[in-house]
């Protein structure tokens, strides 16, 4: 089960995400960031925009941040919202897959960057994965 909660951060915005697997954590991250960009993202929308994703990093947390940064970049370039992730490969240092989304003219929040602040992907005692992600607004 995926959990996406908005964090109260004084200057910017953030989410706390939890999931049963690493794959679901990455999926939750995409959906969570989309909600930060637009509150009712993907409601009733056809996700007909697909982009391939291939990211490498030194560790799982860096992989997640670099991945979300790439999603943000593609959103800005294409005036789109990407709300779903399909994973072909996820290891500690590598991610391959596709993101799905739709063209969106009315993004609500201008996210400047996905930061490393408070980002630490860890497993809880019951084996679930979690992290915070703070966005620079």
């Amino acid at each position: 089960m995926k959990v996406i909660e908005e964090l109260g951060h004084t200057a910017d915005k953030g989410i706390h995400i939890e999931a049963d697997t690493r794959e679901e954590l990455f999926e939750a991250a995409v959906t969570g960031m989309a909600r930060m960009l637009k509150e009712d993202s993907a409601k009733g929308k056809q996700l007909d925009l697909i982009e391939k994703i291939e990211i490498s990093a030194q560790d799982l947390t860096s992989l997640l941040i670099k991945f979300l940064s790439e999603v943000l970049t593609l959103s800005d370039i294409q005036n789109a919202l990407f709300t779903e992730l399909e994973i072909d490969l996820l290891q500690d240092h590598a991610l391959k897959g596709r993101i799905r989304g739709y063209r969106e003219e009315h993004i609500e929040e201008d996210i400047k960057a996905v930061t490393y602040h408070q980002a630490v992907v860890r497993q809880t005692e019951d084996g679930r994965y979690q992290t915070n992600i703070i966005f620079d607004i």
Partner: protein
């Protein structure tokens, strides 16, 4: 976690965390603040971040926090750090994701009383002409060659393209052009993000304001800036948009990947850095310069749009609107400063802090040499903003640096819950302030109650001697994303 008893009071407004606080500090950490403001600053991670900054290789004299300091990413916002040139580090966290986010002040030839009946119409025309909010394109869609020229020429490109006056350039920091910029250091993705964003404000805390000069504190300095009580002026607050954000993100990641190469270990990933003299450092520095140029070109294009809106509503061609000054508050610059009596060349990082050169500095326009560099400190929408000037004392104490504004005191989530955007719009109108905004949630998030009191910040820097007040202005129209 840092506590009050870890700080030594040096003056009424200066506090020091000595190097004995932590083994890895290379220099002390200084905070300019009143006692009350310091107690507030201690509530978040700002000073822990400042101590982390003090560990950077090549850092000189002190890691410095301004009275508006608050928690950032790596560096605190309101932070200043100078590293030795050329082998000291350059750190994107010491500049921020929005490279050359800054403020430009324009003056009109009119008083509030002369134009007050047309201010609402002016606010709507400005909103029509200046794209605001996330994802909005500007009036120019640049070909790759045009964008690359802009990245190396900055505001000069915009003026040469017909969007401004040559004399505008004299009143911009660095004349609106970072000489060490290299368009080749900017990635294709960053260029894709930027090619339609020149002339846009963006969202978040960016804005454009029409203000009235309400008070003059320093007559001589105000005269030099051609400012007088009752005058209509304009403030533009924006930066390098998606292009700069992309450059910063890519280089933070690249520096983190290559840290081992330079034998640098960091207490915080947000301090990712490399020696300026390294290939990584040079690539980021030149890309930072190009992004800075994008921001200056952006503010220059918006200046053109302000002149156009004024001409459409008030009359004339807007040519009596002049640039007072344009400052950056997220930047690194190569500058000479005195440390222990000796002049040294340094890489001065200012993140949420403003350059404030004192009188007679050679880079200042001639009319400002007697009074010091203008410094522009915006308040929140609906509250006062300030014009200051740099001082000789600031040159000695803080590498010629001062504050940049007031930090937030409330989260965006809380502000959205507490503030009704439509009600706020009505209240502002009752105060004689016309608000045009792209999003209701943006209005709530940026409500005045979400921000600290900027007048306390400004009073502190003046009492500390690192800037002096010149004028205060109040908004009459606000355009927001």
């Amino acid at each position: 976690m840092i506590e009050f008893n870890h700080l030594e009071q040096k003056t009424d407004f200066l506090w020091e965390i000595p190097t004995s606080y932590r083994d890895d500090m290379r220099v002390p950490a200084w905070v300019y603040a009143t006692r009350e403001a310091l107690e507030e600053i201690l509530q978040d991670d700002s000073l822990n971040q400042l101590v982390n900054v003090s560990t950077l290789p090549g850092i000189q004299k002190a890691a410095i926090a301004m009275p508006d300091a608050h928690q950032g990413y790596g560096f605190p916002i309101g932070g200043v750090a100078a590293t030795e040139y050329p082998d000291g580090v350059i750190s994107p966290g010491g500049i921020g994701y929005d490279i050359n986010c800054g403020v430009r002040l324009l003056r009109s030839g009119s008083s509030f009383d002369e134009v007050k009946e047309k201010l609402e119409q002016l606010s709507k025309e400005l909103y029509n002409l200046i794209p605001t909010g996330a994802g909005k394109s500007g009036p120019l869609h640049l070909r790759q060659t045009e964008l690359e020229e802009l990245l190396e020429e900055g505001a000069q490109w915009t003026v040469n393209a017909g969007y401004g006056k040559t004399e505008d350039l004299e009143y911009i920091e660095s004349n609106g052009k970072y000489d060490d910029a290299d368009a080749g250091a900017v990635s294709h993705k960053a260029k894709q993000r930027g090619n339609d964003q020149v002339g846009t404000l963006g969202g978040g805390n960016h804005f454009m304001e029409v203000d009235r000069i309400d008070e003059i504190y320093d007559e001589e300095a105000a005269r030099a800036m051609n400012l007088h009580k009752g005058q209509i002026v304009f403030m533009i607050h924006t930066g390098s948009r998606g292009l700069g954000h992309q450059v910063a993100t890519e280089n933070v990641n690249s520096f983190l990947d290559n840290l081992g190469e330079y034998g640098i270990s960091l207490p915080d990933r947000g301090l990712a850095c490399a020696p300026l003299s390294s290939s990584d450092g040079q690539r980021y520095y030149k890309a930072m310069g190009a992004s800075a140029n994008f921001a200056w070109a952006n503010r220059q294009m918006i200046t053109h749009q302000v002149r156009k809106a004024w001409g459409n509503v008030i009359g004339g061609d807007g040519s009596d609107i002049d640039v007072v000054y344009d400052i950056a508050h997220n930047m690194a610059k190569i500058e000479d400063h005195r440390v222990n009596g000796d002049s040294k060349t340094m890489i001065v990082h200012r993140k949420g802090a403003t350059r404030a050169f004192g009188p007679n500095h050679p880079v200042l326009p001639n009319r400002y040499k007697p009074i010091g560099q203008p410094v522009l400190i915006p308040g929140s929408m609906g509250t006062s903003s300030y014009i200051l000037a740099g001082t000789a004392e600031g040159m000695e104490e803080t590498f010629g640096s001062t504050c940049h504004g007031a930090g937030r005191r409330m989260s965006r989530t809380s502000a959205k819950k507490q503030v009704n955007a439509d009600q706020l719009r009505k209240e502002l109108k009752q105060q004689g302030i016309y608000l045009q905004a792209a999003s209701r949630s943006g209005v709530a998030e940026e409500a005045p109650l979400a921000y600290k009191d900027v007048s306390i910040v400004v009073d502190t820097v003046e009492k500390a001697g690192i800037a002096k007040k010149v004028a205060m202005m109040k908004p009459v129209a606000v355009i927001k994303g």
